[in-house]
Symmetry: C2
Subunit: 335 residues, 2 copies
């Protein structure tokens, strides 16, 4: 493999001049630049990123700390990983996967080993132990998720409160006065699932404002239970025929339960939902819904992290990605 020295020799200049055109930090006369570029092309030279990292003490790599939460249903992880990698690449960064089961240890090791310039924490909940080593060390990082206390760390996430507002408004605007609120299992709220909590609070508040009565129906984990729970709820005459869904597993299963029971949307039932776009790709989901926009969240997170690396002492930010309502006429108009 050619080195910067080979290029310099080939072009008849010094290594520093080659470096200048490589980094673009100094002006080089067009003629020498051309000679150097020709030499680079001829030798198929490409900078050794490790050596550059050592010299600049910038690895141009971000670590993504993946985390699993059993109570969740998340076929969207791959989408996030790819979106993060894509966004990072556009900013000149590579992405390293950190999957150690002990997330806190993963963070410590990543910081100590200086393999990365910054960390992206996926799926952050309230009280997430991974925040500790970060806020202690001040290492550049960004949270995907929005805990109550971000410990002074930048964070990006979908605006779940706004999403709830959009969906409640949509139902209220169509004249609905009550709705079943199909939610996550109770454990998720208790274990710090802030997106669930943010959605719920905003939904309740807005529903109160708009005169929409909400009947909560928690849906447990696991395909069988999801199906059974939904089936029971839809058969219960005491529950409203309008659904506000915030639970991906329930959203995915719903069409099939409707099929089981012979119910039509919006004829027999009105449905609005918040779920990942990935989910809609895999299943038949034709509900008016708020998209979760993983690409936008990923891009925001990467942009914030780049900013953080550039200016480590800037004040911490929270960035909420605006949700979008996708209308798919699954809501009947009531008078």
């Amino acid at each position: 493999m050619a080195t910067i020295g080979d290029v310099a020799r080939e072009a008849g200049v010094s290594r520093s001049t080659v470096s200048s055109v490589l980094t673009g930090r100094k002006f080089v006369t067009p003629e020498t630049r051309a000679r150097i570029e020709a030499a680079i092309a001829k030798l198929e030279y490409s900078v050794n990123t490790g050596a550059r990292a050592l010299a600049t003490s910038r690895t141009m790599t971000f670590g993504v700390v993946v985390r699993f939460h059993e109570a969740e249903f998340s076929p969207a992880l791959a989408t996030y990983l790819v979106a993060l990698s894509d966004a990072a690449r556009e900013h000149g960064y590579s992405v390293m996967l950190l999957t150690e089961p002990d997330g806190e240890a993963a963070v410590r090791r990543a910081i100590a080993g200086r393999q990365v310039d910054g960390l992206i924490l996926l799926n952050v909940l309230d009280g997430d132990p991974r925040l500790d080593p970060i806020s202690r060390s001040g290492f550049p990082a960004v949270l995907v998720g929005m805990p109550e206390d971000t410990r002074g760390i930048d964070a990006a996430d979908l605006d779940f409160a706004a999403a709830a507002g959009l969906l409640v408004d949509h139902l209220a605007d169509a004249g609905h006065r009550e709705a079943m609120f199909v939610r996550w299992p109770e454990e998720l709220y208790e274990s710090g699932g802030t997106y669930a909590t943010r959605f719920e609070r905003a939904a309740l508040r807005r529903a109160a404002e708009r005169g929409l009565r909400l009947a909560p129906v928690p849906v447990p984990v696991g395909p069988e239970q999801v199906r059974a729970t939904l089936r029971a709820a839809l058969r219960d005459p005491a529950l409203p025929r309008t659904l506000l869904v915030h639970n991906d597993a329930a959203a995915a299963m719903l069409p099939f339960v409707l099929g089981d029971l012979g119910l039509e949307v919006p004829g027999d039932l009105s449905v609005v939902s918040l779920h990942s776009a990935e989910l809609a790709r895999l299943y038949v989901l034709s509900f008016t819904a708020v998209e979760s926009r993983p690409e936008a969240v990923a891009e925001a997170a990467v942009a914030m992290l780049c900013g953080r690396v550039a200016d480590p002492r800037a004040p911490a930010q929270r960035r909420l990605i605006e949700p979008r309502l996708e209308r798919r006429s699954s809501v009947a108009t009531r008078s």
Copy 2:
């Protein structure tokens, strides 16, 4: 951050001696080793991986080249990525995500930039253009997937032929004489989906041997079409009431179509399937099935790649992971 020099000073030895205990390559007397280890602990020293990489010309990082194929249905990508990262870590390697849409360019850049010691190509099909720069350069790599022509590159994958054999045998053993063969869309076979082809060939051969008549039913992409196709097939009186399924989308949708039509397994219908375990986690899939074993495939791939890095000129290998039959009594016994 402490450097090796700081540790050396603290322990009162030279940097090379510290390096010796770090790499474990040379014998160091227990006393000095103890002093050095104490210094490391005290200073919270941790080796700078980039500097080590430059000195050893080993980055201890593998690149994973992700690739999308629209005709597929793959909520299992995340499972593979995590499994690869976990396996790599156990072998002392980190994993970098390479998601450039142009996979061939991604490979070229990775090789040129020397950011990684080896490449893992996910989801390799026949004639995959990513193989080209690899076989040209001889850069260490391993394919996940098994093209007809591996171009001299190591490859690991599930043994789809053996899987087909297991499933066909299971049906034949239970006395079945004919089965619907629920397959992937035709495009997938044509575009080089070798796992599909390997499964199909073996299924046809074994079925012929066992006197099982196979009626092929290709299932197109997209939830709506999957559902419609399955529904039509299950209503067609000319088609057998026994299903051999190799199509994750169809496997996922099947339980719901059965629900639609009021069919029971194994009473009305016998079903065997090959699908990813991830799928079973997300859906209600209670069919006798062959697991796709992503963790085992990932571990094999990583192990092969480590071997390849250690000995670049060893003969290329193909490793087929043995499938396992999970019996879930979805097959009726016929006489």
